[in-house]
Amino acid sequence: MVSIIQRMKVLQGKLATLRHGPGAAILPPNVQKLSLNFPYRNKGGHMGTRKFWQLYLPRIKYYNPTFPIEVIRREGSDAAGPATITIHFTDKPPHIIDSKNRLHSELCAQFLDITQATAVPPNPEDAKAAAEYAEYVKAEEASARAKEAKRQAKREEKERERLGGVAM
């Protein structure tokens, strides 16, 4: 197993990111269910719906553990067509959002607005940890890119040497 210190560092960052940020809100009891329906492929304006799922739904699910969330991703012949976010209520007809060609942050704001969810007051500790984790992820990505560039340069150098030794 990975060392505990390393594991805990990443875990605390992930949990802080889950608890803090847009979507950290408690839904009123009349919101019954949320269902997303969109194709597998992003092409044709479906990226926003997917990102809404990936970026905000974990937070909504964390603060509303018993709230059912359904994600249907269409494949094959059903792939073409709309992308919809349906919010079911106990006391009124369901509200359907056409999420095609929409930005994920807009969709999240609209969802919270329609459901009249109460935002969870931000925890400064979580905010700090989440920011640190975001920075850590960024630094890791940059480091991975730098390492890959270094390896690529090494490969090219080797290739040049090989060609130089024969052709010149």
Binding site: I4, I5, P65, I69, M168
Partner: protein, 311 residues
């Protein structure tokens, strides 16, 4: 051309350094350098301190770990797995052991109260009435020669998750020489693992929910539940699994010392949560060492392990 010399012209040609016909920029090292480089290195002097080789797997100090109750961990994992398929997404368990690197390892079969894998496809090596009974009991295929032929021609790409052998047909299976194909895939029936049976129909019924697990590099990893399971179902499964592991550890007593150090709950896409042993977060009085009263018994001489870690 070489400079002018008093020697006769023929000697000039002989003694002059050989001129290469081309001058590459980066020639590979001459062979004699390489052979020199490949000679074994001299042993380092004995007075230099060398780190002794590890005989057991590396341990970490659990005081650095944040531990979670089962319900907390499940709430987080469900958030990470939001919108995913509730059947194919699994909860996973990793049990870190304190174990010797060269000691015997745990490998056994367990049956959980609520099965994790619900799609099993059984093939039975049997003949006559046993074959009929096996097919009736839900076997995907049964037979002897035709199955061997299928195994040989398939090249190992088989649709079965389990293969059982009826005891009278077991010798036929051995003679068919399919072990090199089945063995590496863990499908070869063997009396040791209870896959050579006298009553195939009963065995198929028993097989539902049964799976094998093993210790690799000092850790036992397994799927312990589907995302759709409730906390109670998951707790029951974890308890049953821990019971099985502890029984195995007890069976190895005398041959080797093993202790459970850490139990980590994870999921298909989620991070790992070190479990504290409690089920509910609001019940701090449930200690990790208490086997009853709502908690899951994850312990096995935890105090002793901690002492060893600090050495």
């Amino acid at each position: 051309m070489p400079p002018k010399s008093p020697l006769p012209s023929a000697s000039i040609l002989l003694l002059a350094p050989l001129r290469p016909c081309y001058t590459p920029q980066n020639l590979p090292l001459p062979l004699h350098f390489r052979s020199y480089a490949s000679t074994p290195q001299k042993k380092s002097p004995t007075n230099v301190k060398r780190r002794p080789q590890r005989t057991s797997f590396r341990q970490y100090d659990l005081k650095d770990a944040t531990q979670f109750s089962l319900n907390e961990a499940v709430r987080y994992l469900r958030a990470f797995e939001v919108g995913q398929d509730p059947v194919s997404t699994k909860y996973e368990l990793a049990i870190k052991l304190h174990a010797m690197k060269n000691g015997p390892t745990i490998k056994t079969v367990v049956k959980l109260p609520k099965p994790v894998k619900t799609d099993i496809r059984v093939c039975v090596i049997a003949d006559g009435p046993a074959r009929e009974a096996a097919l009736k009991a839900g076997a995907m295929a049964a037979g002897t020669e035709e199955i061997f032929e299928q195994i040989k021609t398939s090249g190992g790409n088989l649709p079965y998750t389990h293969i059982l052998a009826h005891e009278p047909s077991y010798n036929l299976l051995l003679k068919a020489r399919v072990a090199p194909i089945l063995g590496p895939r863990g499908l070869m029936p063997s009396p040791k693992f209870g896959t050579v049976v006298t009553n195939p129909a009963n065995a198929i019924k028993e097989l539902t929910g049964k799976f094998d697990y093993r210790e690799r590099l000092g850790v036992i990893r397994t799927a312990i539940g589907q995302l759709a399971f409730t906390e109670e179902e998951l707790a029951k499964n974890i308890s049953a699994f821990m019971g099985s592991v502890k029984k195995e550890i007890a069976m190895l007593q005398g041959r080797t010392e093993k202790e459970i150090v850490e139990v980590v709950l994870s999921s298909t896409r989620g991070p790992g949560f070190s479990l504290s042993g409690a089920v509910k977060p609001e019940a701090p009085e449930v200690k990790k060492d208490s086997g009853s009263g709502g908690g899951i018994d994850l312990s096995a001489k935890i105090g002793e392990v901690k002492r060893r870690v600090s050495v």
